[in-house]
């Protein structure tokens, strides 16, 4: 579903991503880990062109998304993103946050979008918050609504950029729970996270990025039991 070939990205002289190759299939739940500053987030943001790669190719299904003629907006509709800092729109109600893009893009009528939003909110137990503003919500609630906002577009892939890093510890659980539910439902997901428990439990592949390349790409069991890479072993000894 996503294919990345020789992806490169640098900021000035700082080469963040040197040569990344990765293929993600439908239904994959891929967790990206690595030391801070290794380019995990940058890589994730290259997948929907929030960062523009300096070299290589990024393919989504049969579209090369970093080709100059590609309509990136239509790709982004199918590639949802969840941010570390939620980035809900503070001047819109929760329901409006969820329905704005699908209605604006003509994918749904307002009533239909409202109904769908309420269904989704019902599912995460926040239907009573539909008409409040994001400012009134806790971090965990905000992030779950941000996930719902991405889901309302009916994406084929969801990208999570450290979705629990800005949360108070007691709220991490509710967000991870929702993410697990999505994974079980067959959603294709790429997730940058420091939640090793989540990675172990939900991912079918864990990827270790270091020095701008994919160093390890293994199923969780093997990833933790047999890292096969000195720097990964070192990294794991620090985070576990």
């Amino acid at each position: 579903m996503i294919e990345v070939k020789h992806l490169q990205k640098h900021y000035g002289a700082n080469e963040v991503l040197k040569d990344i190759d990765l293929t993600v299939d439908k239904g994959d739940v891929v967790v990206l880990v690595g030391p801070s500053g290794c380019g995990k987030s940058t890589f994730l943001r290259c997948l929907n062109m929030l960062e523009e790669p300096d070299g290589g190719e990024v393919w989504f299904k049969d579209t090369q998304i970093n080709a100059p003629r590609t309509d990136i907006n239509s790709v982004r509709r199918k590639v949802g993103m969840v941010f570390q800092h939620f980035n809900l729109f503070p001047h819109m109600t929760v329901k409006k946050n969820i329905t704005f893009a699908p209605v604006r893009l003509g994918l749904m009528k307002q009533e239909e979008a409202d109904r769908r939003a309420m269904e989704l909110l019902e599912r995460i137990g926040l239907a009573d918050k539909a008409d409040t503003y994001p400012g009134m919500l806790s971090g965990g609630q905000k992030q779950r609504i941000a996930i719902v906002r991405a889901l309302a577009m009916d994406p084929e892939v969801l990208l999570f950029d450290e979705p629990t890093s800005a949360l108070d510890p007691e709220m991490v659980g509710e967000v991870l729970e929702l993410m697990k539910e999505l994974a079980r439902g067959g959603m294709t997901m790429l997730c940058v996270t420091h939640e090793m428990g989540f990675a172990r439990e939900v991912a079918n592949r864990i990827i270790f990025i270091d020095e701008g390349v994919v160093k390890v790409d293994k199923p969780p069991k093997e990833f933790f039991a047999n890292p096969g890479n000195e720097r990964l072993a070192n990294f794991l000894s620090k985070v576990l």
Partner: protein, 254 residues
């Protein structure tokens, strides 16, 4: 009224009136005779209308200029759009010229050169004020747009919304809200600057005062009178803006 007539007759006869009688006479003459207060009232009406038009248009101009300039500055290096570059140039010239020349000169140019054949002085004056205000408002709004968290733009774009939609529906509303105090200040400046349209014949509050002291040859009362009216208007709107700000601040909390 009778008293006024008597005092007027005395004054015409060249009699020196005691202070209070003179005060009473001049006050009457400046505000009440021939229903002159109506002229002030009309002046206030025009002042407020012109302020409202100028503010509304100023914000529209300001938003457009601000968005063009931000859009131009946010382009990735090496991907400059020549059309945008052109409009950015136009906007730069606009803000530079407007902010670099006196309001009074702009007003005269608009009234006596650009729209020399127009008799609708008030509208021309309002337009001149809008164009002036737009240049300042654009800088205020540009600051507001740049102060909105970059994550908001990323969130909008990642949902598949295009640049313009993201700007208009997500970034600019937040920017406007953030710069509301500064816009309130601009509104108050505009309210007072409306007095400048008098110079090209706009029938505003100052114009009313000038008309009256042109007849009575008594300048103090009409001028102090309108000064007080401006002051009261400004104080009222300052109070109102403060209230609005507190309301917005309240709904932001939580």
């Amino acid at each position: 009224m009778e008293l006024y007539e008597r005092l007027a007759a005395l004054a015409r006869a060249g009699e020196k009136l005691p202070f209070w009688q003179e005060f009473y006479f001049k006050f009457f003459q400046a505000f009440l005779v021939n229903d002159r207060w109506l002229q002030y009232l009309e002046g206030v009406g025009t002042t407020l209308t012109v302020t409202a038009i100028a503010l509304a248009l100023g914000i529209v101009f300001g938003c457009v200029v601000a968005v063009v300039r931000v859009a131009h500055d946010q382009q990735r290096p090496g991907h400059k759009n020549p059309v945008l570059g052109f409009f950015n140039g136009v906007c730069l010239v606009y803000t530079t010229v407007i902010r670099g020349t006196p309001m009074m000169v702009q007003m005269l140019i608009m009234g006596l050169v650009v729209f020399a054949s127009s008799r609708n002085f008030t509208v021309v004056g309002a337009l001149a004020l809008s164009i002036n205000s737009g240049a300042y408002v654009s800088e205020i709004i540009r600051g507001g747009i740049m102060a909105v968290d970059a994550g908001q733009r990323e969130a909008g774009r990642s949902l598949g919304l295009n640049y313009i939609t993201t700007m208009v529906y997500i970034i600019v509303p937040q920017a406007l809200r953030a710069v509301l105090p500064a816009l309130g200040n601009e509104f108050i400046i505009l309210l007072k600057d409306t007095s400048l349209i008098t110079i090209i014949g706009g029938k505003e509050l100052l114009y009313a005062a000038q008309g009256i002291y042109g007849r009575t040859y008594e300048q103090m009362f009409p001028l102090f009178g309108i000064a007080v009216i401006y002051l009261v208007l400004v104080m009222f709107f300052t109070w109102l803006l403060g209230k609005l700000e507190r309301r917005l601040a309240q709904s932001d909390r939580g």
